[in-house]
């Protein structure tokens, strides 16, 4: 018995120039807000952009970007709807706002299905928001998505970085290119993260400060773009090519 889907994945992604997975060994460090604002930033720069939310347990990018009332169209597969100029795909279209209690094998199956049937068309950049950790979603995109590069997010906390360090080690072992490490929620100047990242052989991309005003802008794309977070993040994203 052979699964006919994995072979389709590279075909579905052949029109995509660059694929960036936003990831962290640690939860709650700002992956989803980074993935969402990175997609907004790239779109603002005139790129054609897709955003794929692969966090099935707690999808968040649709909440951050205020994406509501859209549904993919079925046409020789499924076409991602466009929100704020971004082609968008998430499990949330299918699970609605209900909890999706999926175990490992189910997560993999659902990811393969989404990757195999979503027709992204031509894109300059596809940003993928991953769940925390080094579990199924992370391992599956590494397994199935050729040419994927990782953007790793951490906070200044030792608790976060120690896990991120393990992730960097794993990515190196799997020969997955790492674009660099973003330090998020920085509250005071410190070189703890930058020194460690360098030591661990990765590129330190810079810090984004803790922004008190961010929460009020969640769900509102226009206001998000006016936050201190977005200004700092955009500056940092411009250094990524």
């Amino acid at each position: 018995m052979i699964d006919p889907r994995p072979g389709l994945i590279s075909r579905r992604l052949e029109g995509v120039d660059e694929i960036i997975a936003v990831s962290s060994g640690k939860g709650g460090v700002g992956k989803s807000i980074v993935a969402s604002t990175l997609a907004l930033h790239l779109a603002e720069k005139g790129h054609s952009v897709g955003l794929l939310d692969l966090d099935f347990t707690s999808p968040a990018t649709h909440v951050i970007l205020g994406i509501d009332g859209l549904f993919p169209e079925e046409e020789y597969g499924i076409l991602p709807p466009v929100a704020h100029g971004i082609k968008y795909m998430s499990i949330t279209f299918f699970a609605l706002d209900k909890p999706a209690p999926l175990r490992g094998a189910d997560v993999s199956d659902a990811i393969i299905e989404l990757l195999a049937i979503t027709r992204w068309g031509d894109l300059d950049r596809l940003v993928i928001d991953l769940p925390p950790g080094l579990g199924d979603a992370t391992l599956d995109v590494i397994r199935f998505v050729e040419g994927i590069r990782f953007l790793v997010v951490t906070t200044p906390s030792k608790v976060a970085y120690e896990t991120v360090r393990k992730q960097l080690t794993l990515l190196k072992r799997l020969r997955v290119p790492v674009i660099g490490v973003v330090e998020n929620m920085a509250r005071k100047p410190s070189d703890y993260v930058s020194l460690n990242v360098e030591n661990d052989g990765a590129l330190y991309l810079g810090a984004i400060g803790y922004d008190e005003g961010l929460e009020e802008s969640i769900g509102d794309e226009a206001r998000l773009k006016e936050t201190k977070f977005y200004a700092e993040a955009s500056k940092l994203y411009s250094t990524i090519n």
């Binding site: 052979i2 999706a100 209690p101 299905e113």
Partner: protein, 135 residues
């Protein structure tokens, strides 16, 4: 239609296998269709016919149905998925991503959504029959 995307996968995978095994033509492709995904057989059949490659000119596409067998991880109950038991919107969601069945379906005995999909999830390539040059 989503069926077209899956048909594309079947054709591509079958072509790859034929090449690997040095088949000069394919005579039959058997596809198993799990009922959980609620695939429209006519559309899948039509899509396969349309997408067939020269190697498959005379191939017969056989579609077999496999009931969606589910097993509760909590109480052990086994049951068969009944598409009539779910609403239209839920059905459509499960059609796209069968795993979201866990969102809409629960164990008939203890109501848990923590069940295993034993078989009959989606589309699988069951077998390919063909002819080698020296046959």
């Amino acid at each position: 239609m989503h069926e077209w995307a899956l048909a594309e996968g079947v054709i591509q995978t079958a072509s790859g296998i034929a090449e690997e095994q040095g088949l000069e033509k394919i005579t039959e492709i058997v596809v198993r269709i799990g009922e959980l995904q609620q695939i429209e057989h006519d559309i899948l059949q039509f899509a396969l016919e349309q997408l067939r490659t020269p190697l498959m000119t005379d191939a017969k596409f056989t579609l077999e149905t496999v009931p969606g067998k589910l097993k509760c991880r909590i109480c052990g109950e086994e049951w068969t998925f009944n598409p009539k038991g779910v609403g239209e919107e839920e059905s459509e969601a499960i059609h796209f991503i069968p795993e979201v069945a866990h969102v809409y379906i629960s164990c008939p005995s203890c109501d848990s959504p923590d069940f295993q999909i034993l078989e009959g999830r989606g589309v699988l390539l069951a077998s390919i029959t063909g002819v080698k040059p020296d046959d």
